[in-house]
Structure formats: structure tokens, C-alpha cells
């Protein structure tokens, strides 16, 4: 299966600070790709850069983002405008502020349809708006409501409904459920998965919640210090993470079910992007650090089929 989105050696700078380092990832059709990692490891930045939404001072010095073979980074704003939302929709981290506070949510959904589906009549658009809201479990009469009249969870759901409006190829979701309680969170994600089955879009799912990630995604990429340090099918990451940082993450979250187990955590503190340690960025905190770790960055090599790890421990195996 060929990837719908392929990121190649993408780097992102904020001024002199490199937030994303030579990241390569691919997203296959119909797949859920989970993205996890330390806060500040560049997950959101990666999502913005890949969709050409990076705000200044952010800048992409190198890399390619291929959507169906087309490099998004070289398209003009006009060409992009056609692709946007039609093919790639994005639900932002903190959807609380993602809705325009002064126009009704109905109009905001309508905006998308009007721009990208000029053939639709007003009635058709209104009907589609109602359909979308009921899809995410919001009473259709809320179409005329303003964002502040909705609870945080409802707003989040409106964003998701809006993302699905044009039935895009790819939906990027950046921590869409952090502000919600688990019940609502589960309902929304469940709905997404069901829709994915029927509509066949791909999802990039960014979250801190490892349990959630493991449960809902097909494949997971773990980021640390601006780099992808491990990438593998979800179940395998959960069962046997190979990178010490991934192992640390998995050892840090408490499980609700099953016997209480000891939480190991990760010693040390996150790296300062302005003065990254030489070599592997994780080596100062790594329990298995070797001399080479402080000198050179290990490459993200495939260790098995569909599995890549950037760690000298694995290099040694090869």
C-alpha cells in the first residue's frame, strides 16, 4: 500500500532553535498513526510544518512533504488552498481557541462548504451542517450557537465535525481530547474510528496519553528532542518498546486495570532545545547510555519489518 503522506527529512527551525530534526514518517491510507513524546519534543510543530501552517518565526530549512507524490512545501498558496481541508484537515491542540468566537459554529462549518463546494445550495449546506453535528452527538439546533455557548467538550466535537465536513484523505488530530473527561473522550474517538471505517481516511493522532494511543492507533512514532526515536505497530510498542525513552514512557503511566505495578518514570529532565546534548539527545537520561551515545546520533534504522529505532543498542544488534 502506498503512503498518502510521506514526510522526508523534515527539519523545522524557530529562529536559531531546531525544533524538528530530519524527521521522516509515512502515513498509509486508512491508517491511524500515533505520535507521542515528551512535551516540547516537536509534535505539534511537525504537524504544522507538514500542513504548511507554521507561523513565523517557524521555518522549514529542509525536507519534503509528499502528498500523493506532490511536495506540499513547494506548492503556491493558491494551490494549497484547494488541497486544504479537502484533502488534509487538522484538529488543533486546544480547540478551545480554534473556533472564531464571534461567528456561529454553523457559519464556520458553512464557510468550508461554501469555499470548497461552490456547487452546493444553501439548503444542501445547511443539511450537511446538521448531519455533521449529529455525527458527533451535538443537538442540531446548536448550529446557530456561538462557541462560548458550548462546553469545551462540545467545541472539541464541533472541530472534529468540521474536520470531517469534506471527507478528507487525512485528518490530523493534535491532542483533541486532553480537556475532556474519559467518557466523552472515548465517545468521540470511537465515532472517529467508525467513520474511518466507512470513509477510509487516515489519521495522525498526537497525544500524551499512552494508553489511549496504544488502544486507538495502528502504528506509533515516539518523538524525543525533535527527532523520531522509535516507530512501530502499536501493539509491539506496548509489548516490547525498544528505545529506552519509549520504555521509560511506558513505564511511567499508571494502569487502571490489573495489579498495581511499580512506576519507574524517567530520571532527569527534558533537554533544552537551545543547548541539545551532543549525540543522542536522550543519553544524559538513558539507563543504558554508552560512550558512543554522547558522540554520535544513532540513525533511525529499520530493525524489523515496519519497525524503526534510533538507538545504539539496536545498532549493535545489526
Amino acid at each position: 500500500m502506498s503512503p498518502v503522506l510521506e514526510i522526508r527529512d523534515l527539519s523545522v527551525d524557530y529562529g536559531s532553535l531546531r525544533a524538528v530534526h530530519n524527521v521522516s514518517l509515512s502515513l498509509r491510507a486508512g491508517e491511524v498513526l500515533g505520535l507521542a513524546g515528551e512535551s516540547g519534543s516537536g509534535k505539534s510543530t511537525l504537524a504544522y510544518a507538514a500542513t504548511r501552517l507554521l507561523q513565523p518565526p517557524g521555518r522549514v530549512p529542509s525536507g519534503e512533504v509528499l502528498f500523493k507524490g506532490q511536495d506540499l512545501l513547494t506548492l503556491t498558496e493558491k494551490q494549497l488552498q484547494v488541497l486544504r481541508w479537502n484533502e488534509i484537515a487538522i484538529v488543533f491542540q486546544g480547540a478551545m481557541n480554534a473556533l472564531n468566537p464571534v461567528i456561529s459554529v454553523g457559519t464556520q462549518i458553512d464557510d468550508v462548504l461554501r469555499t470548497h463546494r461552490p456547487a452546493m445550495t444553501r439548503q444542501e449546506r445547511a443539511a450537511r451542517g446538521r448531519e455533521l453535528l449529529s455525527l458527533v452527538g451535538i443537538p442540531v439546533d446548536r448550529l446557530t450557537a456561538y462557541p462560548h455557548q458550548l462546553s469545551g467538550g462540545m467545541r472539541q466535537r464541533v472541530m472534529i465535525a468540521m474536520a470531517l465536513a469534506l471527507e478528507p484523505e487525512i485528518v490530523i488530530m493534535d491532542e483533541p481530547t486532553t480537556a475532556l473527561d474519559v467518557v466523552v473522550q472515548r465517545q468521540i474517538l470511537g465515532q472517529m474510528m467508525r467513520l474511518r471505517e466507512t470513509l477510509g481516511f487516515s489519521i495522525v493522532f498526537i497525544t500524551h496519553d499512552i494508553s489511549l494511543l496504544v488502544e486507538f492507533s495502528d502504528r506509533i512514532a515516539i518523538m524525543y528532542g525533535g527527532r523520531v526515536v522509535e516507530e512501530a505497530p502499536a501493539a509491539e510498542i506496548y509489548r516490547a518498546a525498544k528505545h529506552p525513552y519509549s520504555q521509560g514512557l511506558l513505564g511511567s503511566f499508571p494502569a487502571l486495570r490489573g495489579p498495581r505495578r511499580e512506576l519507574r518514570g524517567i530520571p532527569g529532565s527534558p533537554p533544552d532545545l537551545r543547548s541539545m546534548p551532543a549525540g543522542c539527545p536522550f543519553h544524559p537520561r538513558c539507563p543504558h547510555a554508552m560512550d558512543v551515545c554522547g558522540e554520535r546520533m544513532p540513525s533511525l534504522d529499520s530493525v524489523e519489518v515496519r519497525r524503526r529505532v534510533a538507538c545504539w543498542l539496536e545498532e549493535a544488534h545489526v
Binding site: G37, E38, S39, G40, V136, G137, I138, P139, S151, G152, G153, M154, R157, T178, A179, L180, D181, V182, V183, V184, Q185, R186, Q187, I188, L189, G190, Q191, M193, R194, H208, D209, I210, S211, L212, V214, E215, F216, Y238, G248, L249, S252, F253, P254, A255, L256, R257, G258, R260, L263, G265, I266, S269, P270
Partner: protein, 303 residues
Amino acid sequence: MNEVVLEAEGLVKTYKRVRAVQDVSLVLRRGRVTALVGESGSGKSTVAKLLARLVEPTEGEILLDGRKVRRVREYRRKVQMVFQDPFASLNPIHTIRYHLTRPLKIHKRQETPEELMERVQLPADFLSRYPHELSGGQRQRVAIARALAAHPEVLLADEPVSMLDVSIRLGVLNLLLDLKERLKLAVLYITHDIASARYFADETFVMYGGQIVEGGDSESVTQQPAHPYTQLLIESAPDPERSVVALDAPAEEAAAVSAGCQFAARCPKVQARCWIDAPPRSDVGAGHWAACWLYVETAGAAA
């Protein structure tokens, strides 16, 4: 049994027409962590603010060490709060040192800010930094240090970790545990993350619609939830062990019920009387209770 520090009796808070908190009674004990979990908007933060006396209750009273404390300052010396959002609760224009020196001065403590920093395991050279120069986890620790500066007996922590990634989250929670042990603090821990309540709290209370619907020691509340809402909550918690199972379509927001059980509209086991009368508390295990009509007969039979 650990001694009671803070006791809230029949707290009610009404905003305009929203009844944010309805008749909540709560007891915090020395050296114990009490977790408060529940739906968003169920009134958890409001309870914390009521207990911190940042918000005046519409009804009910709060007893500190068994008595009503008139003077706010005296109260604040003993009850401190950590806010939900570490990005918002530190004033961006003051240094960390300022944030820590103020409570020391106000409450006339002899400690130095350096000692406080040590207590939350932050290097002392952070003192001259500004909040924006710290990571989220570090800020949260500063916020905790500030709360500890007053040598409180009670710490109210409102979702102290929801913004942090799991490894940092763990660090903060371990710090709270450590403080509880060493300083014999009473801690109120508010969270959406039920799993962390299981690990860090001695007792757990579940809130729904402004009321506490279930309470008991954490292990039994999380492992044998009694109230249908708690069951739903536990059921919904993410679980890496299972793959996505069939789920309900998202429920539409239910309107608040004026009388009866708040959860009635969504409850799979709803009975006729649930709509009419508010359910009383029934014991469902050792120190574990639930406010649900399902348990009324069994409780009555056992008595």
C-alpha cells in the same frame, strides 16, 4: 484513623442559575491523599476554590481543625492551593524568587526560597528565572513549592498534571506523595486521570452534576465501582490492553435534573424513583459508599 484537618459540610455554590456544587460534604485527613474525579464541569474546581475560600459558598460551612476560621489570613496559612494550569498560575512578570519569597514573608516563615526549591527538587539557580523560562513540569513544581511555603496542613491540587507528559506527570505525583509522607499533609487531588487516582490517592470521590456520587478507598472505587456513572467512567478509561471495542455513539448533553438523581437521564439502570428523589448514600463495602437507589434495599437489608 488519621485526624481530620478540613471538613466541609453541605457546600452549595450557585452561579446565576447554574448550580455548580450541590450539597457536597468532604473530609480531608492528615497524611492522606483524597482524589476527586468526575465529569468535566461537574464542579471539581469549584469545590477546590470553595475549600480555598477563593469563592464564597452559597450555603454550607467549612471547618478547619474543627472550628470556623474567620480571619482569612490565618486560614490561608493552613490551606493552600495549586492551580490546574501551571502556565497561568505564575505571574509572567515576576521571578521564581519573588513567587516563593512572598508567601514566606506573608506567613512569616523562617525558611529561605532555596530550601523550598530543594524540597521540590529544583536547582536553586532557577530562582532568578522567569516562569516562561521553565518547562511545564518545572513550573508546576514551583507552584507546589509556593503552596508549601506557608507550611500548610492542607494542599488543594486542582488537576496539577493534566498538561504534562506522563514522565513529568509521574515526577510531580511522586513529589506529592513524598510530601504527604514527610510533612503529613492532607491533599485533595483533582484529576481526570482515574488511573493516577488509583495509584496516588488513599481515597477517591466521584463527582457528577455538582454532587459526590461515590466515595471510598481508591482501590475499591476504581476496581469495584458501584455507581453506574463510576462504572461508565472506569469503563471509558483508555486501556492499552484492549483494542477498540464497539462504542456508543456520543451521547447528547443531558439537561440537568431538578430533583432526583442527576445521572438518571444517562443511566442504563434507571428506575422510576431515580427521577423523583435524590438517592441517599448507601454503603457498598468497607468505607465505600455510593449514592444510588440500586443499593438502597441491600443496605437496608444488611442493617
